[in-house]
């Protein structure tokens, strides 16, 4: 239970009081789906906390640059050069032990992530400092269209960042840039203090995993085989799995509740099952950073909620950093720790959920009328869109 307490401590600033209670209430409300993984991954929890020790809670520093100021030199963005010193800008936050013994902590803590493999953070990463930071990022599509302009953001471990914005806002492009599927035109992306492009692809694949939104299964691999492919960054040329790899694969399969499907061909799965198989493959990669591109797009409500509960386990208990792109603001309002709103390739707002998601912002970013209230049950927010009803009558009568 120490992990849950820790999660509570860390989330204290980001959430209204009681959020974690509610979060766990939601968990226990679905005990059948829950119990196996909690048992399976429980052992993995212990190590993760070492990495995310500091109680310092700090809004995404990119929020400061939201106005469009040049990111690199903006105040409080020292993380670009010295990621370890990120705690400095957390004014007033209890960052006491973060700067305390950065090297020692980094060297000894070997957090175990989702899959349970030991991961050793590179020197320079410690405490609550950002493990992924973006500075002055620009990207232009091959056809010359600007997709991302001058973006600066920091991502800290143990938190769930949800990226939202209208179609064409550059969310997926940003995710591609983070995953190094595209090379930035300008600016830097640092993963554990080192430029993403400087990592050999295999090394980067051990730090950062992406569950793509579009995927295809052309051949009848079994679910277990597909999940096993996630171990590739750790394997030799012939891809022989060690006992440890097999355990991690099984754990990822169990975590996404795919046990009964493990030996079935992926070509026979339904859309939701296939999506979970892809996620299990991503988790088997055992990375501290997990990027999810519209993970709930093909899931029904129950599946989506279940998935988000599991993501919460990854961040809260295992200390993973999860970045999700989604169109589902309702889910985001419940499950996000931090929101990143994008519009037209620029940052519209970024920061803790409660501070960013409000009616004014929804109007500005999505041109949607809504009412945003704290949600007592989940501890998150509740969005009620004010469309239909009067507005419908207004539109029907020729109003704009």
């Amino acid at each position: 239970m120490s992990s849950a307490e820790d999660g509570k401590g860390r989330s204290g600033d980001a959430f209204p009081a009681g959020v974690d209670e509610a979060g766990r209430a939601g968990v226990s409300g679905r005990p059948a789906a829950r119990t196996p993984e909690t048992a399976v991954v429980a052992s993995a929890a212990a190590g993760a906390e070492a990495a995310v020790s500091g109680g310092a809670e700090e809004p995404v520093s990119g929020g400061a640059e939201a106005s469009g100021a040049a990111g690199a030199d903006a105040p409080g963005s020292g993380g670009a050069d010295a990621p370890g010193s990120g705690g400095a800008e957390a004014s007033g936050a209890a960052g006491a032990d973060a700067p305390g013994a950065p090297e020692g902590a980094a060297g000894e803590s070997r957090p175990r992530f989702a899959g349970g493999s030991t991961f050793k953070p590179p020197a320079g990463a410690s405490g609550d400092s950002p493990i992924l930071s973006v500075r002055g990022l620009c990207f232009r599509h091959a056809n010359g269209m600007r997709a991302v302009s001058d973006l600066s953001l920091d991502f800290r471990p143990g938190r769930h960042y949800v990226m939202a914005g209208p179609n064409g806002a550059g969310k997926s492009t940003l995710l591609d840039l983070l995953a190094r599927l595209k090379a930035p035109e300008k600016g830097s992306i640092r993963v554990f203090g080192k430029e993403a492009g400087e990592y050999p692809p295999i090394r980067l694949a051990r730090l950062l995993a992406l569950a793509p939104q579009k995927f295809q299964f052309n051949f009848s691999f079994t679910v277990r085989e597909v999940v096993s492919l996630g171990r590739r960054p750790y394997l030799g040329r012939w891809g022989r799995l060690t006992a440890e790899d097999k355990r991690i694969v099984e754990r990822a399969i169990e975590f996404l509740n795919l046990g009964h499907l493990a030996d079935k061909p992926v070509t026979a799965l339904s859309g939701g099952e296939a999506q979970r198989a892809v996620l299990a493959r991503t988790l088997a990669q055992s990375t501290p950073v997990i990027l999810l591109d519209e993970p709930t797009a093909s899931l029904d409500v129950a599946q989506a909620l279940d998935l988000m509960d599991r993501v919460r386990i990854l961040t809260r208990r295992d200390g993973a950093l999860v970045v999700t792109v989604t169109h589902d603001l309702h889910l985001a309002a419940v499950y996000a720790d931090e929101m990143i709103f994008m519009k037209g390739g620029r940052l519209a707002a970024a920061g803790p959920l409660a501070e960013t998601l409000n009616a004014g912002l929804l109007r500005e970013v999505f041109e949607a009328e809504a009412e945003v209230r704290p949600d007592d049950f989940s501890g998150g927010l509740n969005i009620s869109f004010r469309h239909g009803g009067e507005r419908e009558r207004h539109l029907a009568s020729g109003g704009g």
Partner: protein, 398 residues
């Protein structure tokens, strides 16, 4: 079989199509209805294929117009190989009585210079086609691809036709009269075609997206087919020599042809096998593969080049033999699963088995001698249809 589960992109809510797919097969979700992937042990299949190949070799060498006994075959092989290079035969040979003295020279010639090189050529050409079919289907994410998808066969046919028509039109060009000249033309043109197809298919970042490759291959094949028709027209009365070459046959193949295809086949297998794991990952899509640290561009280029060159070499020495490269990887995948680590070597063995068996049937057991390419198409085609039909039924609800 080509089945893509791609969640539709933009609509944020559950779209109609999505909902329909989910509800269409609720019983699939947890129950036993999606059958477990039943598979054969790849090693067992490999042993079966190897035994099959050994049996075909024995049957092929012994039967035909001039039958040979097992003892005679042993004696002739011993005579040819012993003492020269293959010293490792010696201890084995010591277990048997020495070859009977006075083997008939003409019989030695028939077995060692006619029958054996033909058998070896068919084995290696079949192996090359099986290998390249497996690789092509994996890279192009399309179980219906074959070694000829990128226009290798059309290029080869064009090259061979040009050479043949030159020998017809310009009898003075004696250099082209060599029996190997069409093969050389075929190999050169199929390689050129491959490069043109890759150039056409490359996108801005120099990647080779599978749909581009397939389209570029189809376009080049169409253009070359028209050119071949024109050449056939030029050949006039002697068009049959072109047609016969195009049909594919192992008749009168010598050790030279066996050597040519072998020389290109061996590097191909060494280039493709170490990439089998990456190929597995690439079947999940480029984005997944790249985030798993696979350099998809490099792997795809290497695999395409290796597989195409192996296929080109096979076409150059044997002509266009259809269906082997298509059906063998398909069957192997059905029996032993889609893992390329086993699929590639098993398709290689299976291709060798199928083509050598077909050639043996054509040569020794059928009246006259129909081109082996016709037999493989006539036998494998309907067999493929049956498999395809069966899979179609499975796919109705998928």
């Amino acid at each position: 079989m080509t089945e893509a589960i791609a969640p539709e992109t933009p609509p944020p809510g559950p779209s109609v199509g999505e909902g329909a797919r989910e509800t269409a097969r609720p019983e699939d979700a947890g129950s036993a209805s999606p059958a477990l992937a039943r598979r054969m042990n790849p090693w067992l299949l490999g042993i079966l294929f190897s035994v099959g190949i050994a049996a075909v070799m024995a049957v092929s060498l012994s039967s035909g117009y001039m039958p040979f006994t097992a003892r005679e075959i042993w004696d002739i092989l011993y005579l040819k190989f012993h003492g020269a290079t293959l010293r490792f035969w010696e201890p084995l040979a010591a277990c048997f009585p020495l070859p009977a003295a006075g083997l008939d020279e003409s019989r030695i010639l028939v077995l060692f210079e006619v029958r054996l090189p033909r058998l070896v050529t068919s084995l290696v050409a079949g192996a090359a086609l099986g290998l390249s079919g497996a690789v092509f289907q994996g890279i192009l994410l399309n179980p219906l691809a074959d070694p000829y998808t990128l226009g290798v066969s059309s290029g080869a046919a064009f090259g061979a036709s040009v050479v043949i028509v030159c020998t017809i039109l310009f009898p003075a060009a004696t250099a082209l009269a060599s029996p190997l000249a069409p093969a050389a033309g075929a190999f050169a043109m199929s390689t050129v075609t491959l490069f043109v197809v890759m150039l056409l298919a490359a996108d801005r970042e120099g990647r080779l997206p599978p749909p581009n490759l397939i389209l570029a291959g189809v376009i080049m094949s169409a253009i070359l087919s028209a050119a071949i028709s024109f050449i056939k027209y030029l050949a006039g009365d002697q068009v049959s020599s072109i047609i016969f070459w195009l049909l594919g046959s192992f008749q009168a193949r010598t050790w030279t042809e066996a050597g040519i295809v072998f020389v290109f086949f061996v590097p191909a297998i060494f280039l493709t096998l170490p990439s089998a794991v990456d190929l597995n990952i690439m079947t999940l899509g480029v984005r997944s593969a790249e985030t798993l640290g696979v350099n998809t561009g490099k792997v795809r280029l290497r695999l395409l080049a290796a597989a195409s060159v192996a296929a080109s070499a096979s076409v150059a020495v044997a002509g266009i033999i259809g269906f082997v490269g298509l059906i063998v990887p398909h069957l192997v995948r059905l029996l032993a699963g889609p893992d390329h680590r086993s699929l590639i070597p098993l398709s290689t063995l299976g291709g060798a088995l199928l083509l050598s068996a077909a050639d043996t049937v054509v040569r020794a057991f059928l009246p006259g001698e129909i081109p082996v390419g016709v037999l493989t198409a006539l036998l494998a085609g309907p067999a493929f249809l049956v498999i395809f039909r069966r899979k179609m039924k499975d796919l109705v609800h998928v």
